[in-house]
């Protein structure tokens, strides 16, 4: 499934921050993890992740360092900073709020379409 551009831009930051909260990682592994988490449903254009990573680095949410991969080639690793942790918590709160509101309205819609309204569920 391709997300629309705005949603993708909005969700990329919390996704990347959350994945890095699981542990340090690098570009390709982050993209793999996104696919894994969404059961292959979320498909980013691979190249688009990197400008996002650079922006987060500039905003001091993540830190980059060059290391060596198992293959012996150099690889850029990213790590969450304290700032990033705080940012992640904030994102989480906002998304939960949005998520809650959406769930509520989705469920009303579904109920409205199929069965009579049962008041007092929420």
């Amino acid at each position: 499934m391709k997300l629309n551009k705005d949603l993708m831009a909005a969700s990329a930051t919390p996704l990347v921050l959350a994945i890095l909260a699981e542990g340090d990682s690098y570009g390709y592994a982050i993209i793999k993890r996104v696919k894994e988490l969404s059961d292959g449903q979320l498909e980013w254009t691979d190249g688009m992740l990197y400008p996002v990573l650079h922006r987060l680095e500039r905003q001091d949410y993540i830190m980059a360092r060059w290391g060596t991969a198992e293959t012996g080639r150099k690889r850029k690793y990213y790590q969450l900073t304290d700032n990033g942790k705080a940012q992640l918590a904030e994102h989480r709160q906002q998304w939960q709020t949005v998520d809650q509101a959406l769930r509520l309205v989705w469920s009303r819609l579904v109920q409205g379409a199929t069965v009579p309204v049962i008041s007092g569920v929420y």
Binding site: A29, I31, D46, G47, M48, P51, A69, K76
Partner: protein, 456 residues
């Protein structure tokens, strides 16, 4: 079925080169993307794809390059302004640091070669007196040897070739100091004006190194000259502001810094800045677009209009030109400008590109300049038949003839190129072959004119 040999490394190298053309992507970004590409490719091979197929799919999945580099550009806007960063960049740091040191030493040496005549009291500088004539006469010598030294240091040139610059330098020195000139007489003044032109060819020889015999080496020197003038002008503007502020700051506490400004900052800055400007031009190659061709594009239409307008006006409303000396000089300056516009348009042109509107405009400009040159020549000839030869008239006549030959043949070559009969390179070749002619004529004015006209 036969196996075709597939070279994954070569393909990745090609892909890298393609990315490197994007300004928004820095070397390390490409390293990062390459790591991604390799990771993706290895995983795809695990699912049964061949190495070649895996790489293709991996590149495809990275996404459209335009879109990606657009995102990079949004994140790194500073990269779109090509930066001339001195002494950064990991690999070349050592050499640029050393080069900077050499340049600063040479600039100091150049400044010292000027100052020593003041310090020794032989030709003392005074803030409220004119510059001693000595400095005007020897102006090229405070700069040219050090510039040549810089290029010798920078490029490999045989010792036998290096010493070739000595005879012309010595010859100029001897002529200017041994000939019994009347100070600031006609031939003396002509010598002072023409010596720098002749010696600039020596700089060109040192600049081109062993490429002086080829068109490309000479064309690089033309580019270098144009950029040097622009950089020097910019430094001079900054220097002017610096000196003005020096004067104002010290005046505010009741001191007069004229001595400091006019006997130290101005002479040392003016000589040393040539070396620094040369170094800037050398180190910015390939980092920043050349500015001379850009100015050429801006001013070619304007000069074409100017000359065409002038010719039309002269045709319909013209009276006989007052052929005073300064009028002729204006003609020469205009023609030299046209030649400069032509040279710098050539220097930036893709030799393979087909003729376009700008080429037609250039041809128009050259033809207009030719007509103006003919008018000037007719006037000079009239004056010479009426009043006889003087050093100035002969010098102007020679310069106009040289320009006439150059512009005339250029017009022919340009026309052939536009009609598709000849490659553009023929025009470039003609200009490059002609380059030494200016210096040879200038040398002739310096060396032959004084005895010819009795050192007046």
């Amino acid at each position: 079925m036969h196996e075709t040999l597939f070279d994954a490394e070569a393909m990745i190298a090609d892909w890298r080169r393609y990315l490197e053309q994007r300004r928004a992507l820095a070397g390390e970004d490409i390293d990062e993307l390459e790591d991604h590409l390799r990771g993706q490719s290895v995983e795809l091979q695990g699912t049964g794809l061949s190495e070649e197929e895996a790489l293709f799919v991996a590149i495809r999945r990275l996404g459209k390059l335009d879109a990606i580099s657009h995102e990079y550009a949004l994140e790194h806007t500073e990269r779109l302004w090509k930066q001339l960063v001195m002494g950064s960049g990991s690999a070349t740091r050592g050499t640029t640091d050393r080069e900077l040191l050499v340049v600063l030493l040479l600039a100091a040496a150049a400044a010292f070669s000027f100052k020593i005549w003041d310090l020794s009291g032989l030709f003392a500088l005074h803030p409220d007196q004119d510059l001693p004539l000595f400095y005007l006469v020897h102006a090229p010598y405070f700069v040219v040897p050090w510039l040549c030294g810089y290029f010798f240091w920078k490029r490999s040139l045989q010792r036998a070739d290096r010493v070739k610059i000595v005879p012309p330098l010595v010859a100029g020195l001897v002529v200017m100091n041994v000939y019994p000139f009347i100070p600031l007489g006609d031939t003396h003044l002509l010598g002072i004006l023409h010596l720098p032109i002749a010696l600039w060819l020596v700089v060109g020889f040192a600049h081109a190194g062993d490429r002086w015999q080829g068109d490309s080496g000479r064309m690089d020197f033309v580019r270098f000259t144009g950029e040097l003038m622009i950089y020097y002008s910019l430094i001079a503007l900054g220097g002017g502001v610096f000196m003005a502020l020096t004067v104002m700051l010290f005046s505010s506490i009741g001191l007069n810094p004229a001595q400091l400004v006019f006997t130290w900052i101005l002479p040392c800055g003016a000589t040393g800045a040539v070396l620094v400007a040369a170094w800037l031009v050398e180190s910015k190659q390939g980092v920043i677009e050349n500015i001379a061709p850009v100015l050429t594009r801006v001013f070619t239409p304007l000069f074409t209009l100017l000359l065409a307008g002038f010719l039309v006006t002269k045709l319909f409303a013209g009276q006989d030109m007052a052929m005073e000396r300064d009028v002729l000089i204006i003609y020469d300056i205009v023609l030299a400008m046209v030649l400069g516009l032509l040279l710098y348009a050539l220097s930036a042109r893709d030799l393979m590109a087909p003729p376009g509107w700008f080429d037609r405009l250039q041809l128009t400009l050259v033809v207009c300049a030719l007509l103006a040159d003919l008018i000037a020549l007719a006037a000079i000839a009239g004056r010479i038949t009426e009043f006889g030869f003087t050093p100035n008239r002969l010098a102007v006549l020679g310069e106009n003839l040289i320009l006439l030959v150059n512009l005339g043949w250029s017009a022919v070559l340009y026309r052939r190129f536009i009609q598709g009969q000849q490659p553009f390179a023929a025009l470039v070749h003609w200009q490059m072959v002609y380059l030494p002619v200016y210096a040879v004529w200038a040398a002739a004015v310096v060396i032959l004119f004084p005895p010819l006209f009795g050192f007046v």
